[in-house]
């Protein structure tokens, strides 16, 4: 795709995203019915859950991009992995912030060491560590390899962390879409919010990857200028 078409696609995506976000706000805050016991507080659920799902998808993208980099050694995959990790960390941070805001009035505590909360926190720490590795390696190729190796390790570790503490007492609500516990009137709002978050993820990914590509091009021009070619 040529740069012009790419830019046009970004504009279209941006406009779609803005519309989707307004719709999501409307659905979550006005259209969805008020929950009987928790009242309006429950509406935070429409942001908490989609952010969590999107964050997990971002880490999966990071894993496959890291693997692809190790196999193909093409810096394009490294850029993709980096973008996914950064965005995943932000989305998981949203999860970790909205969770306690909801939990304080409902559970009467900000935080509890339940399996779900603990694994979410560890997952966040793993990918912050992933971003840290990148900060501390100067050579671009070395950096990409070190990050890719850690990306693979982090993603393999995540399910083991979950299984290793699964037997702890959990008071976190179980996934409501799978169990069908979510009231049918609340489903449209949740799906619209998930859609909006996905769109946001795709949009941010495209922007971040193109920024990384531009940075790499500049880097290459610099090194070519240094060599006096």
């Amino acid at each position: 795709m040529n740069p012009e078409a790419r830019r046009r696609l970004d504009t279209v995506l941006g406009a779609l995203l803005a519309a989707a976000m307004l719709l999501a706000l409307y659905m979550a805050l006005l259209q969805a019915p008020r929950e009987r016991t928790m009242g309006d507080l429950q509406r935070i659920f429409y942001f908490h859950v989609p952010a969590g799902i999107t964050g997990l998808i971002a880490f999966a993208v990071n894993f496959f991009a890291s693997l692809a980099y190790l196999i193909k050694k093409d810096r394009k995959w490294d850029g993709l992995a980096l973008a996914a990790a950064e965005i995943g960390v932000v989305f998981l941070a949203i999860v970790l912030v909205t969770g306690p805001i909801w939990a304080k009035p409902v559970w009467l505590v900000w935080w509890t060491w339940s399996p779900r909360l603990t694994s979410a926190l560890v997952l966040w720490l793993l990918y912050v560590a992933y971003l840290l590795v990148r900060n501390y390696v100067a050579d671009p190729d070395r950096k990409a390899v070190a990050a890719a190796v850690f990306g693979v390790v982090a993603f393999v570790d995540a399910p083991i962390v979950w299984f290793s503490i699964r037997w702890w007492r959990d008071i976190h609500p179980s996934p409501m879409l799978e169990s069908g516990a979510l009231a049918p009137e609340m489903r449209p709002a949740l799906w619209v919010c998930i859609g909006a978050f996905m769109l946001l993820f795709v949009y941010l990914m495209r922007r971040r990857v193109s920024l990384e590509t531009a940075r790499r091009d500049v880097e290459e021009l610099h090194s070519r200028a240094d060599l006096g070619q």
């Binding site: 560890v122 793993l126 560590a129 840290l132 590795v133 390899v145 070190a146 693979v152 393999v156 570790d157």
Partner: protein, 223 residues
């Protein structure tokens, strides 16, 4: 293959035997951590037996991190790493040898820390020793399996000593959680059947990360 792994392991053991650089640091730091914990846990002295598993494993993990940091940092001196990489063996062999060396150093340290712990916290432990030994060995293997890989990753970075624990501790959490749990079961209950679950998780972790690191090590030590 075993002979090749042994050569790498033997080299590290021999260096350590001559210099005792890592072991001294690991031992001393482990004991310092125990002393610090003694002050931190002043208020729960009566129920100290319940806190000992956590104290032990934190001190093992901290002193183990010191050992891991030295493992590849020492190879950086006098271009030893280049020599090691020129060996006509698979890089995975180097990984296995290094992992075993770390395990040996850590186990030696753990025995000493454990004895100090018995003395400091006035514990009576005899019957439990074989079970504890099993937990220490499996836990340490798991810790070393992923620790060796991440030590090799961090040795090429600007802040290697600082970076390793940041990378290692979140990853190795399943080992620490289950090792503490298993040690707790041994010290504070008679229901040893409950050991099955933590030991299984630790073994799975060790096998998964042993294999994964064996495969990934090739990429890490490139230069």
């Amino acid at each position: 293959m075993l002979g090749k792994i042994w050569s790498v392991l033997h080299k590290d053991l021999l260096i350590e035997l001559r210099t005792k650089d890592s072991l001294n640091a690991m031992l001393f730091f482990g004991i310092v951590v125990l002393v610090v914990f003694n002050f931190a846990l002043e208020s729960v002295r009566e129920t100290i037996r319940a806190a000992v598993p956590g104290v032990l494993w934190v001190s093992f993990a901290f002193s183990g991190t010191l050992g891991l940091n030295r493992m590849f940092a020492s190879e950086k001196e006098n271009s030893c790493l280049q020599g090691l990489l020129m060996l006509p063996v698979d890089r995975g062999i180097i990984y296995l040898g290094k992992t075993l060396a770390v395990t040996v150093f850590m186990l030696i340290t753990e025995v000493v820390i454990f004895v100090f712990c018995l003395v400091f916290f006035n514990l009576e432990v005899w019957r439990e020793i074989p079970y504890l030994a099993m937990v220490f060995v499996i836990g340490t293997l798991g810790f070393a399996a992923v620790g060796t890989l991440l030590a090799a990753v961090s040795v090429n970075t600007r802040m290697r000593e600082v970076l390793l624990p940041l990378l290692l501790f979140p990853v190795v959490l399943p080992i620490l959680v289950n090792a503490v749990e298993a040690t707790h079961i041994i010290l504070n209950s008679v229901e040893y059947g409950a050991l099955r679950l933590p030991l299984t998780i630790m073994s799975v972790f060790t096998i998964v990360f042993g294999t994964l690191s064996y495969l990934l090590f090739d990429f890490v030590l490139e230069d």
